[in-house]
C-alpha cells in the first residue's frame, strides 16, 4: 500500500515546477524529501496531497487514481501539515485540534471522539495548553497544536488497518530542540504503527537520522532516491547545494560549515 507519483509534471503560471517526478510513499516508512530552496519540495507534497493536479502523469493512493477518490475519502486517508495561516477568531486550542476529526459517517465512531482527542493531546504533550486561546500561543506552540490536529485526523481504533498517510511540510520549523526531536519521534512511532510518512525537511542531519528513505530534489527533478546512506553522498550533495559538504559515516553526520 502506498501513495505513488508516476512521472508527474507540474506547471504553475507557465513555469515548470516539477518535471517527470516519480516517487512512492510506502506504508510503515518515512520518506524525507530534501533539496535546496525552490527545488519543488512543497509543490510535490501538495500534489501528493491532491491540492494540485499534475499536468502529466498520475498520482495514486493504493493503486487507485486520486481523481477517483472524493475529497472526504481523501481526508480520511491522509493528513497534511503545511504553512500556517493566521486565524481570525479566538478558537480555543482544543477546538483547533478537534477540527482534525473528520466525519466518519458512523455514529458509533463518534463515541471514541473524546478518548481519541485526549490520546493525541497527551501524546503530543500539549495538555497544559488545551484551554488556552490559540491566538495567544507562540509560533512553535501553534505548530505543535497543528501537528496534534494532523494526528487526530488519522486516528483509528486499535483494531483498524485502514491505510493512512502523513504528509508534513517542514514540521519542525519554529520548534526548539526538545520538541523537534519529540515530534519526529512521534512521527517515527506512527510509521512503526503502519502509517506512510512523507517529510519535507531542511536539516540534513534530521533527515539522516529519522528517514527510511530520502529523495533529493533539485530544480524540479529527483536527483536520487534511496536509503540515507545512498543519497547523502558528499559529491552529490556538494553539487546540488553548491557548497562543500562533508559526510561522516556511521553514524551518518553531515557538516557544511
Amino acid at each position: 500500500m502506498s501513495i505513488q507519483a508516476n512521472s508527474i509534471d507540474i506547471n504553475l503560471n507557465n513555469r515548470s515546477i516539477l518535471k517527470d517526478v516519480s516517487l512512492s510513499v510506502e506504508q510503515g516508512e518515512i520518506l524525507s524529501v530534501i533539496g535546496p530552496n525552490g527545488a519543488g519540495k512543497s509543490t510535490l507534497l501538495k500534489s501528493l496531497a491532491g491540492d494540485i493536479k499534475p499536468s502529466e502523469g498520475e498520482i495514486s493512493y493504493d493503486r487507485k487514481n486520486i481523481d477517483e477518490i472524493n475529497i472526504q475519502e481523501r481526508a480520511f486517508t491522509r493528513s497534511v501539515m503545511s504553512q500556517l495561516q493566521a486565524i481570525a477568531f479566538d478558537f480555543s486550542v482544543k477546538e483547533i485540534i478537534e477540527m482534525g476529526w473528520v466525519s466518519r459517517g458512523e455514529s458509533t465512531y463518534a463515541k471514541e471522539f473524546e478518548d481519541a482527542v485526549m490520546e493525541v493531546v497527551i501524546k503530543c504533550g500539549v495538555k497544559s495548553l488545551i484551554n488556552r486561546n490559540f491566538n495567544t500561543l507562540s509560533g512553535g506552540e501553534q505548530r505543535r497544536i497543528h501537528f496534534a490536529r494532523t494526528l487526530l485526523q488519522l486516528w483509528r481504533p486499535s483494531n483498524s488497518d485502514d491505510p493512512k498517510y502523513l504528509l508534513l511540510d517542514e514540521p519542525t520549523a519554529n520548534l526548539d530542540l526538545t520538541y523537534e526531536v519529540k515530534l519526529l519521534n512521534i512521527v517515527k512511532e506512527a510509521a512503526s504503527e503502519g502509517a506512510g510518512v512523507m517529510l519535507v525537511l531542511h536539516d540534513l542531519n534530521l533527515a539522516a537520522k529519522f528517514s527510511d528513505k530520502i529523495a533529493l530534489l533539485n530544480k524540479g527533478s529527483v536527483v536520487k532516491t534511496g536509503t540515507p546512506k545512498e543519497v547523502l553522498n558528499p559529491d552529490i550533495l556538494s553539487q546540488v547545494y553548491d557548497i562543500d559538504i562533508k559526510v561522516q559515516e556511521d553514524p551518518l553526520f553531515i557538516t557544511y560549515y
Binding site: F76, W101, G105, A110
Partner: protein
C-alpha cells in the same frame, strides 16, 4: 433512503460533538429570551393588550384586529429580519475570515435596497399591468444582494484573506454607489409608489401585511436553515481554504451556499424593512462574547439574539415617542456604532 437517514443522523451527532453542554444551555436561554421579547412586543404598543383577556377571548374587535393584522406581522417581521441579519453577519464573517464583515458595512444590504427600489420604480414605469407579485420585490432585492457579494468575491480574489480594512473600503464604495442609485430612484418617483428615502436607509417594520410577509418568511427560513447545515465547514475554513479542502470540505460549494443563503436572507429582509445597520456586525460579536466562536453555536445563537434585539429595537421605535415613530435603524445604529468603534480599537490593539 437508509443512506440519507444515516447521513442526517451522523451530522447531528457530529454537531453535538462540536458544541459544549454550556453552549447548548446558552442557546436554550437565547431561545427563551427571544420568545419573551416576542411576547412583550406583542402586548405593548399604542393600544396595549392584556394577555389574559386575549386568551379568554374578552377583547374588543378593534384590539383583535390591531393585534392580529398589524402588530403580529410586524413583530414576526422584526424577528425574521433580526435573525437573518444576525446569522448572515456571522456566516459572512466566517466565510471572509474577517470580524468586520457585516451585510450593512460591506454593501450587501445597500445592493438589496437598490434592487428592491429598482423593481418598484421600473416595475411601475415599464411593467404596468404586470402583476407586482409579492415575490418580485424580494427577488429584486436578492439579485441586488447577490450582485454585491459576487463583486466582493471578485475583488477579494475568491474571499482570499486581504486584511480587515480592504473590504470595508470596498463596502464604503458600494454603499455610496447604491446610495446614489436609491436617491435618483426616489427622486424620479415622487408619488407613493416608493416609500421615502428614510425607509430605505434607516429601515422600518411598519405597514407590513400578511401577503407581503409570507413569501419573506419562506425565503428567510429556507436560507437560515441552509446556513445552519454548513456550520462545521465554516469552522474548518478558518484554518485557510487549502486546509479545509484537505479536511474534506468542498470549499467551492460552501462558498456558493453561503453566498446564496446570505443574499436570499438579507434580500428578503431589506425588501420589506429597508436597510438596518449594524445588527449583522454587533450580534455575532455579542454571541461570541457570551460563549465561544465555533459556528455550531454561533450561527443559531446569532439568529436568536438577532431576533430578540430586533424585536426590542422595533418596540422601542414605536413606543418611545408615541404617536410618532422613530426609524428602527436609528436605534440599531445608536447602539451599533459605538460598538463598531470599540471593535476597531480592539482589533488594532491585537
Amino acid at each position: 433512503m437508509h443512506l440519507t437517514m444515516n447521513r442526517i443522523l451522523s451530522s447531528i451527532t457530529l454537531n453535538r460533538l462540536h458544541i459544549s453542554p454550556s453552549q447548548l444551555f446558552k442557546l436554550n436561554f437565547f431561545v427563551f429570551l427571544s420568545a419573551l421579547c416576542f411576547l412583550i412586543a406583542c402586548v405593548n404598543g399604542s393600544i396595549a393588550v392584556n394577555l389574559s383577556d386575549f386568551l379568554s377571548g374578552e377583547i374588543s374587535e378593534l384590539t383583535k384586529i390591531v393585534l392580529l393584522e398589524i402588530r403580529l406581522p410586524r413583530v414576526i417581521l422584526a424577528a425574521l429580519v433580526g435573525a437573518s441579519l444576525g446569522i448572515s453577519g456571522a456566516a459572512l464573517q466566517g466565510l471572509f475570515r474577517n470580524p468586520l464583515a457585516d451585510p450593512g458595512l460591506i454593501g450587501v444590504s445597500a445592493g438589496a435596497a437598490l434592487g428592491a427600489t429598482l423593481v418598484i420604480v421600473l416595475g411601475s414605469k415599464f411593467l404596468s399591468g404586470f402583476m407586482l407579485g409579492s415575490f418580485l420585490l424580494p427577488l429584486g432585492a436578492i439579485s441586488g444582494a447577490m450582485l454585491v457579494i459576487m463583486m466582493l468575491y471578485l475583488l477579494t480574489r475568491g474571499f482570499g484573506y486581504q486584511g480587515v480594512t480592504y473590504m470595508l473600503l470596498v463596502g464604503i464604495a458600494v454603499n455610496a454607489i447604491a446610495g446614489v442609485g436609491i436617491g435618483i430612484l426616489t427622486f424620479i418617483s415622487t408619488d407613493s409608489e416608493l416609500r421615502g428615502l428614510t425607509f430605505w436607509t434607516m429601515g422600518s417594520f411598519g405597514g407590513v401585511t400578511w401577503p407581503l410577509l409570507i413569501p419573506a418568511i419562506l425565503i428567510i427560513l429556507i436560507s437560515v436553515t441552509s446556513m445552519m447545515t454548513v456550520s462545521r465547514n465554516l469552522d474548518l475554513i478558518q484554518l485557510g481554504e487549502p486546509e479545509a479542502y484537505r479536511l474534506g470540505v468542498d470549499v467551492k460549494r460552501l462558498k456558493y451556499k453561503i453566498i446564496l443563503s446570505c443574499a436570499a436572507a438579507v434580500g428578503a429582509s431589506v425588501s420589506l424593512s429597508g436597510m438596518i445597520g449594524f445588527v449583522g456586525l454587533v450580534v455575532p460579536h455579542l454571541v461570541r462574547l457570551f460563549g465561544g466562536v465555533n459556528h455550531n453555536y454561533l450561527l443559531p445563537g446569532s439568529a436568536f439574539i438577532g431576533a430578540a434585539l430586533m424585536i426590542t429595537a422595533d418596540m422601542l421605535s414605536r413606543t418611545m415617542i408615541q404617536p410618532a415613530e422613530l426609524p428602527v435603524g436609528l436605534i440599531t445604529s445608536a447602539i451599533g456604532s459605538p460598538f463598531f468603534l470599540w471593535l476597531i480599537f480592539r482589533i488594532k490593539r491585537s
